[in-house]
Subunit: 199 residues, 2 copies
């Protein structure tokens, strides 16, 4: 970057390079693109970022990201159907919503339990989850945690906490739609075989 | 994105997804990261973008990107050593500057001639280049254009325009440093063989 007299452009590149999925090279490319399309892209993007920086916050109830203290999903009474889907992360909530089949409410943990990283139940939204189950008329908690060691450990912990109070389910494991057996790992194949069903 | 009540976050994701190197999925990931690190990343990034949107402009002389009408490279008198390096793009200028060996000035064309895309000499900074050669005391023009068909066509056109007025050179073609013959294309190998030199 020795070429650049202009510390502002350099500063922007350095900030962009910190985004997930971008490195120094792609950040430079993105910034050049932004400068070329100043009116069309850069100004609207700067404005949109400013607005989101001012308004974005976590929903106090479920941990979803929104622009008000209680997110639209928690505010929507038609969603209070007694089903509560527990996810690790807002990205997982968005993925579930894109699938468009779940009509209940969510609870975003904000991570997984991890002994290595010293993440305990209090660091996640697990106490709040136990509260919600008691007060929101929940009759089924769907544990939609990632199928990783940490995700499954967290699911077991939550199941222990809620046992006897509510129906607990988890997402089915098996062959993904469009998946080819040849490319699947052994764990998935044996899980799919164990959970086989009559047709 | 059905999950998002908040049109502002959606708008930001849509804008980010237009950046080169980012798609809808990585834009979502980047925006979530930004929202999580609001104070640390999002606010400074919005500010930096706003500043660049206000101040960034193209150098009227060479086409480099900077924060003043004449960029630092054109303003620097020690750079007026009679060498003028012609590049396609600001990204190429930055790449040359990172290498740190060229001490002259640059001229950014802003693209290549292309019959298919109807890009003619007037759409690039070729007339301005001819002017600069006449007025800036240039004694060598280095054509550092990409080794693509369009780049080489443009180099030929510029060479025609400047023939007899100035010494014309181009970057050497051959095996890249650290390159393995086994992975090189035939064109590069034959160019390197033709341009072989005694050691």
């Amino acid at each position: 970057m020795a070429a650049q007299d202009n510390s502002e452009i350099e500063a922007l590149i350095a900030l962009m390079a910190k985004l997930p999925g971008l490195g120094p090279r792609s950040a430079r490319r993105a910034v050049l693109h932004l400068i070329r399309k100043r009116a069309l892209v850069l100004t609207p993007l700067a404005d949109a970022m400013g607005r989101v920086a001012e308004t974005a916050r976590e929903c106090l109830n479920c941990g979803n990201v929104g622009t008000s203290d209680i997110c639209a999903l928690c505010a929507d009474e038609t969603r209070a159907n007694g089903e509560l889907c527990v996810v690790e992360d807002v990205a997982d909530l968005w993925a579930m919503e894109r699938a468009g089949v779940f009509k209940g409410r969510y609870h975003v943990l904000g991570g997984t339990l991890s002994a290595l990283d010293a993440v305990g139940p209090e660091d996640l939204r697990i106490p709040r989850l136990v509260d919600r189950v008691a007060t929101e008329g929940v009759n089924e908690v769907i544990l939609a945690l990632n199928a990783t060691i940490d995700g499954q450990t967290t699911a077991h912990y939550i199941a222990d906490q809620l046992e006897g109070r509510v129906k607990l389910t988890s997402l089915a494991q098996g062959v993904p739609i469009g998946g080819e057996l040849d490319y699947l790992d052994d764990g998935t194949i044996s899980a799919a075989l164990r959970a086989r069903k009559e047709i």
